[in-house]
């Protein structure tokens, strides 16, 4: 079965650079969630999209922005990177109107800021 695809899997950037993370949800899934998992931490919700509209916003820094495109893939744009942005970034997808459906997580993008 098709799973959530994230690219790149690994990314190394320097401080103050920008980074773009991509997420391709499971086919027919209309909702995308982004989570950030710092070293030794639990995943923290950043932002979510449903039908290309932002549906909720969590602890996402103002330096970050995201969007969902017409094909439902999503991109997380990160600017002015800081050392503290080093983390595993997960994308998850689900169906909005299927009550109780679990979120399916991608393998994550490991971002290292040096």
């Amino acid at each position: 079965a098709a799973g959530v695809i994230q690219s790149p899997r690994h990314l190394i950037k320097e401080k103050r650079e920008t980074a773009t993370l991509k997420c391709y949800p499971i086919p027919r899934h209309d909702t995308v969630y982004w989570y950030q998992q710092g070293p030794g931490q639990d995943p923290q919700f950043l932002i979510s999209f449903y039908e290309k509209m932002q549906s909720d916003k969590g602890s996402i820094p103002d330096r970050f922005s995201a969007q969902q495109f017409s094909d439902y893939h999503s991109e997380l744009n990160m600017s002015s990177l800081e050392l503290g942005d080093s983390a595993l970034y997960f994308c998850a997808s689900s169906l909005w109107d299927r009550a109780g459906y679990e979120q399916y997580f991608g393998p994550g993008t490991r971002l290292t800021v040096t």
């Binding site: 639990d42 995943p43 979510s48 909720d56 969590g58 109107d97 009550a99 109780g100 679990e102 979120q103």
Partner: protein
């Protein structure tokens, strides 16, 4: 607001023994509860969920969990642990579907399970 507590940072169990990983939650309204497992340098894999109905839910790899509304708990259990079960386990909660709003997951801090041969 919703929150999850996993009181044990680490659980050690001998192979073949039963295991329990504890989770308590707080949510406004009816909860949907989930367990995910994370192997080193890997993503989160879904194990099982409680939505409604039977309080005992069965999931992947022989795991099960019991929903206890009065104790607001959702402990993960397995009758006989395997070395390959060693991983990081996350309990997560979200508000029940209401047709509006977002359904972000709130995770516990995770419990590292070590199964000793």
């Amino acid at each position: 607001a919703q929150s999850v507590a996993q009181p044990e940072d680490q659980v050690n169990v001998a192979e073949g023994n039963p295991l329990t990983v504890k989770c308590t939650y707080s949510v406004s309204g009816n909860p949907y509860l989930f367990w995910y497992v994370q192997y080193p340098n890997r993503g989160l894999q879904f194990l099982l969920k409680y939505i409604t109905g039977d309080n005992l839910v069965k999931g992947s790899y022989g795991f099960e969990a019991e929903f206890n509304k009065s104790q607001t708990s959702f402990h993960l259990k397995k009758p006989s642990a395997l070395v390959s079960d060693s991983a990081l386990y996350f309990c997560a909660v979200r508000v029940a579907y209401s047709g509006a709003g977002s359904y972000q997951l709130t995770f516990g801090k995770g419990t590292k399970l070590s199964v000793i041969p």
